[in-house]
């Protein structure tokens, strides 16, 4: 691939005796939607954590827009323009939704004056617009901790979009969301990708969702990169089917 925004090269990570990731190679093309699948415990979230800087990696290199980031800390990577959402949704539970959104603006160009910027005006408009986009406008003044789990998940997505990242890593965006809403969510993710130009990298268990959404899919198994390719290729790949049906 020529135009990779995230390049993972030969990355390994082990916890104690458990090899969570072994020699992982992966590339996420700029402007694409890339999927990561694999059975539970195969190292998907570990890979995410390695990319965004939650723990040191044992060896290998991770590049974002050509810059080595495997030694940077979470905040520094976020300020380069790569965000992630959490499998266990994380929002600021004691603040209302609009405040949650307003504090999620991009901090890439933070200066001393933006720390003390007023809260009104353009930021608020954009916050409300994005809440509308994910369908939470009517809940905008509620304390976010009181929202249901699914609503919090949508709020977290909206917060990530508010940040205008270059790349967004989503950890199981549809888990815990009402099935009738999933189509709407897929639609919104696609629009975020097309209209806002955000590169998406999605961990997903729901095959229907990921096959619909992603243009390129990586499949992990037991910490190894098992296969990658277009959704249709993977659907027919015997190794992938084996991995999911308990081959090993």
């Amino acid at each position: 691939m020529t135009n990779a925004i995230i390049t993972v090269n030969n990355v390994s990570k082990s916890f104690g005796g458990v090899n969570a990731n072994v020699d992982i190679d992966m590339q996420v093309e700029s402007g694409s939607i890339t999927g990561i699948i694999g059975p539970n415990g195969c190292g998907k979230t570990t890979l995410f954590n390695s990319i965004v800087g939650y723990h040191p990696i044992d060896n290998g290199s991770i590049k974002f827009e050509g810059q080595e980031i495997s030694k940077l800390r979470v905040g520094e990577i976020a300020r380069l323009g790569m965000l992630r959402t959490f499998q266990q949704t994380r929002i600021y539970p004691k603040m209302d939704c609009v405040d949650n959104m307003q504090i999620s603006i991009s901090h890439r160009l933070d200066s001393k004056s933006s720390i003390f910027a007023s809260r009104r005006g353009e930021i608020r408009d954009r916050a409300e617009h994005l809440l509308e986009f994910v369908g939470l406008y009517s809940k905008r003044n509620l304390i976010s901790g009181d929202l249901s789990f699914g609503q919090q998940k949508l709020l977290e997505l909206a917060m990530a979009l508010m940040n205008e990242p270059k790349a967004l890593l989503l950890d199981e965006p549809t888990a815990g969301i009402n099935p009738t809403l999933i189509n709407g969510l897929i639609d919104r993710l696609r629009r975020a990708n097309e209209d806002l130009g955000i590169t998406l990298c999605v961990i997903e268990h729901n095959m229907r969702v990921i096959m619909n959404l992603a243009s390129h899919i990586y499949c992990l198994s037991n910490g190894y990169m098992l296969a990658n390719g277009k959704p249709t290729d993977l659907q027919n790949d015997q190794r992938v089917i084996d991995a999911y049906l308990g081959g090993h």
Partner: protein, 354 residues
């Protein structure tokens, strides 16, 4: 809160602040300590309540400020410097002209604040690598260490302390003068914090309190925010220390680093009023100060025990504080919207975003 609630509060505080010492001149210094408590509690809250970084060591800057102002005030116009002054154990009484005294005092207070600020920045990288209980204990350790180091420095009098320069003027003017400085400092700190927490800063602070990992993952420069909050607290604690040192007239380890008294009172006051709110610490400081003074006059001898019990009862049984309690009781007054229409059915129909 809306302005129509703020106005009467400001009016009441102004009445206490201005008329209090006029009608009750005997209590001028007591009311001065009321404002000291207000400054301590509100600046503690800027880091502790709003950001969730509960410091037990803000009193460090109070003590450092006290000593810094003593050094500046003595050595600015006295040739021999502080070392000679302290080693003479009070037998040297340098004569200051009025102008010299007041200029020295002004510079001393300013220097105290600035040194506090600088020290807080120097220690911030270390302190803010600590989270939760480690931050609280580490900051307490900082205060104890500062106190112990101070008494080993002979330059500032070691364990025997420093006698502050004599105030030129009669005792009544002296009280009124120091009272006014305390009052003005309280107003200044309040205005600064009020403005600060109406900007993006306030949101970032609350975000750090709610979930610091998330805030970091969203790219918020958490360290800068924490530094600013702690720096403000350090600056005001330094200035306050300088004023209190002059007000008492003599400083040593016990006066400068009152860890078991003011060091914990400021936290208790902020909790009593309700942490993380603009008015909570102010209200809590006032109530706490009144209880404290009442305990001193009515229960002399047992005042510490009574205060300890009040402290524990406050923390254990009433930790949301007065403002927190009011917010739960009358949420709509605070602009909190409760969604009664959907919460009932929400649990039945599961997750729904529309």
């Amino acid at each position: 809160m809306t302005t129509n609630i703020n106005l009467p509060i400001y009016a009441t505080l102004a009445v206490i602040g201005i008329l209090g010492p006029i009608f009750f001149p005997a209590y001028t210094l007591s009311i001065a300590f009321l404002w000291v408590m207000v400054i301590m509690a509100s600046t503690w809250d800027a880091l502790g309540g709003q950001m969730g970084y509960n410091s037990l060591g803000n009193i460090t800057f109070f003590g450092i400020g006290m000593y810094v102002s003593a050094i500046v005030q003595v050595s600015f116009f006295y040739e021999g410097g502080v070392g000679e002054y302290t080693s003479a154990m009070g037998s040297i009484k340098p004569e200051f002209t009025d102008a010299e005294y007041f200029i020295g005092l002004f510079l001393g207070i300013l220097a105290a604040g600035i040194v506090g600020l600088v020290i807080s920045i120097l220690f911030s990288s270390f302190m803010f690598g600590l989270r939760g209980p480690y931050f609280a204990i580490g900051s307490l350790g900082l205060a104890i260490a500062a106190a112990e180091i101070t008494i080993t420095i002979d330059y500032v009098g070691g364990p025997s302390g420093i006698l502050m320069p004599l105030f030129p003027g009669d005792i009544e003017f002296r009280s009124t003068f120091f009272y006014s400085i305390c009052f003005l400092l309280a107003i200044a700190s309040h205005i600064l914090l009020r403005w600060l927490f109406s900007t993006q800063f306030g949101l970032a602070a609350n975000a750090i309190r709610d979930d610091e990992d998330k805030a970091e993952a969203m790219g918020i420069q958490t360290l800068s925010y924490k530094r600013i909050s702690w720096g403000i607290a350090a600056f005001f604690m330094g200035c306050t220390g300088a004023v209190v040192g002059n007000m008492i007239g003599f400083i040593d380890k016990e006066v400068a680093y009152p860890i078991p008294t003011f060091g914990i009172f400021m936290v208790a006051a902020a909790l009593l009023g309700g942490k993380g709110t603009l008015w909570g610490p102010v209200l809590g400081a006032i109530i706490f100060h009144i209880i404290k003074d009442a305990a001193w006059t009515l229960l002399l001898g047992f005042q510490w025990i009574v205060l300890g019990i009040i402290l524990i009862v406050n923390i254990v049984y009433f930790q949301q504080g007065i403002m927190g309690w009011l917010q739960v009781k009358f949420p709509e007054r605070f602009g909190i919207v409760i969604d009664t229409s959907t919460t009932l059915v929400d649990s039945q129909r599961g997750d729904d975003a529309r």
